[in-house]
Amino acid sequence: MIKNSGKLLLALASVAVVAGCASTKLDKPAEVEKKDVTSTTTSQTTPSTGNSTVATTDQSSNMAPPITLDRVIYFDFDSYAVKDEFRPIVEAHANLLKSNPNAKEVAEGHTDERGGSEYNLALGQKRAEAVVQQMKVLGVGDSQLEAVSYGKERPAVDGHDEAAWAKNRRVELRSK
């Protein structure tokens, strides 16, 4: 079971990387493309540069959904409220899941580096559950969703200032 799903994830990851490059909407596509290659081949050892998007630098990008929806929702300090600007992301994923009843997603909560590991784990869980709750309200089945948390253990970007912290307070939606 575990081995099979690992293979499946790897397969999904390659699809996601290709799709991610092709659909990146930035002014300098060539540069972005180069970063994608770097981050996917050496993501375990290379700290992220801070100016790439979370999607291309996250250490666990092999969980990306095969369809390239935006999948990162950012939060204000000490907040669990999903801001209006991120509603379209939640709705898009809800629609995807509703039209694919066998598909499953994980909402993965993260915090910035400040504070204790366990309390931050609970805060990240609260953020993830807030996103899951919205998707359930939009009609997604409970069995298609799981809220989990990494707390402060897996920052999207390194750095010890508000710019870095703001990028790390997030929920990432991943296919399961």
Binding site: T46, Q59, G116, Q125
Partner: protein
């Protein structure tokens, strides 16, 4: 078979050898402050220790210095445990006690580590010990000597032969490590490319519960540190975290989100018989048992920000314990049940100690990035992770905050120290 320990027989006077001038250069003990009471003690070199792989007296000396309870003074020590102290000269040196010993190789390859302690004030032999030991276990034998000196002179158990678990983080590599209480003899208990957090010792010191992210979510597993085996005990939907053993070792407290929100549950040590025990609409996590096993102390944001609460394990409402400041997390109970250590966020993150009898609170650290306080089994010391001069360190402090020792320092992230029980 040789007995592991063997009391020293009454020993006659031996030839008095000239006292050697100690030359200890192996250890750099970084300490700050002055202990409330310091016993001046002369520590001689151990006869024949230079022929062994470890210098016994240097290890004992570093232990005693790091404790804050002793002040090593120069003075004439007997040549070994059979010698006779020159009490008058020792008193002139200002010493209250003197230790000497030997480390002789036995025919079977082991080393007979012996020591004797004398009370200089009373002019009395305080006894000693002979411990035949494998060369690889010499450090442990030295820590046993430190434990006995500490116990005989303070009346309390020493913690020098205990161990401390902690986690290091390098890029893509997380290691659960176990070290002797002096920061030496570091061993890796578990290495993973995913985060490891929240190690917790079983009361008998044979197991470490921890949180693993190996399967892309937080699960609670238990590592047997002797056998090197792992068993998963909590892998429910959502996050599984914050394990703590009950004092009898039969029950685990964990934080689960399987029913929505983060709440404290109890389970048998193998993961069965799961039942929720905290009830709030907010976060409840980081549960620790009181030493009598009757209460859990835990963190909850039910009142707004995170504060520490206590609640009877057998049922009953929670009462708030911390009131100073808007953010108090990571409770740790002293094994004697008298003190609560925790982290307060004010201008920084600092270790605080509350006297549970009076409710008095004091800050015990001089740093601002403290996390994860944990008491030594004799309740006299607290270890915590922090940053000093930009580097990650593990510090120990006396519970009054007056005496500190830097146990470990690294360019890696060093996190979440947890002091193990007596014995191993």
């Amino acid at each position: 078979m040789w007995p592991r320990r063997q009391a020293l027989r009454a020993l006659g006077a031996s030839l008095a050898l000239p006292a050697l001038t100690p030359a200890y250069a192996q250890f750099r003990v970084e300490i700050s402050g002055v202990g409330a009471t310091q016993i001046p003690i002369v520590l001689g070199r151990f006869r024949d220790e230079d022929r062994q792989p470890q210098s016994i007296s240097a290890i004992v000396r570093a232990d005693l210095e790091r404790s804050g309870v002793f002040k090593i003074v120069d003075g004439p020590a007997p040549a070994d445990e059979n010698g006779l102290p020159d009490y008058n000269a020792l008193r002139a040196s200002g010493a209250d006690a003197v230790v000497s010993g030997s480390a002789s190789r036995l025919a079977d390859g082991r080393i007979d580590v012996r020591f004797r302690l004398w009370d200089v004030v009373k002019g009395a032999d305080q006894g000693g010990q002979s411990e035949p030991t494998l060369p690889a276990d010499l450090r442990l034998s030295a820590h046993h000597i430190s434990d006995q000196i500490y116990q005989k002179l303070t009346g309390e158990r020493g913690i020098f032969s205990t161990r401390i678990a902690y986690v290091t983080k390098a890029p893509g590599k997380f290691t659960l490590r176990v070290t002797d209480a002096d920061g030496e003899n570091i061993q890796a208990a578990l290495i993973d490319n995913q985060p490891i957090i929240s190690p917790a010792w079983s009361p008998d010191g044979s197991e470490l519960a921890y949180v693993t992210f190996h399967d892309k979510k937080a699960k609670v597993a238990i590592r047997n540190v002797h056998a090197g085996t792992t068993r998963e005990v909590a892998a429910f939907k959502g996050s599984n975290s914050a394990p703590a053993f009950s004092p009898d070792g039969r029950t685990l407290a964990v934080t689960l989100s399987r029913d929505g929100g983060s709440h404290v549950y109890l389970m048998d040590r193998n993961g069965g018989n799961v039942r929720r025990i905290t009830d709030s609409t907010g976060i409840d996590t980081e549960a620790k048992f009181s030493p009598d096993g009757a209460y859990i102390y835990f963190v909850s944001d039910r009142g707004g920000g995170p504060q520490i609460y206590k609640q009877p394990v057998g049922g009953g409402g929670a009462t708030r314990v911390t009131f100073n400041g808007a953010y108090n997390i990571s409770p740790a109970l002293s094994p004697d049940g008298k003190l609560l250590a925790y982290i307060n966020r004010g201008n920084g993150f600092k270790v605080m100690v509350m006297d549970l009898g009076t409710g008095d609170v004091r800050s015990v650290s001089d740093t601002n990035d403290d996390e994860s306080p944990s008491f030594a089994p004799n309740s006299r010391y607290i270890i915590y992770a922090t940053k000093a001069d930009g580097r990650d360190v593990l510090m120990t402090t006396t519970t009054d905050g007056k005496f500190k020792s830097k146990l470990l320092e690294s360019g890696l992230d060093i996190r979440e120290p947890v002091w193990g029980p007596y014995g191993r």
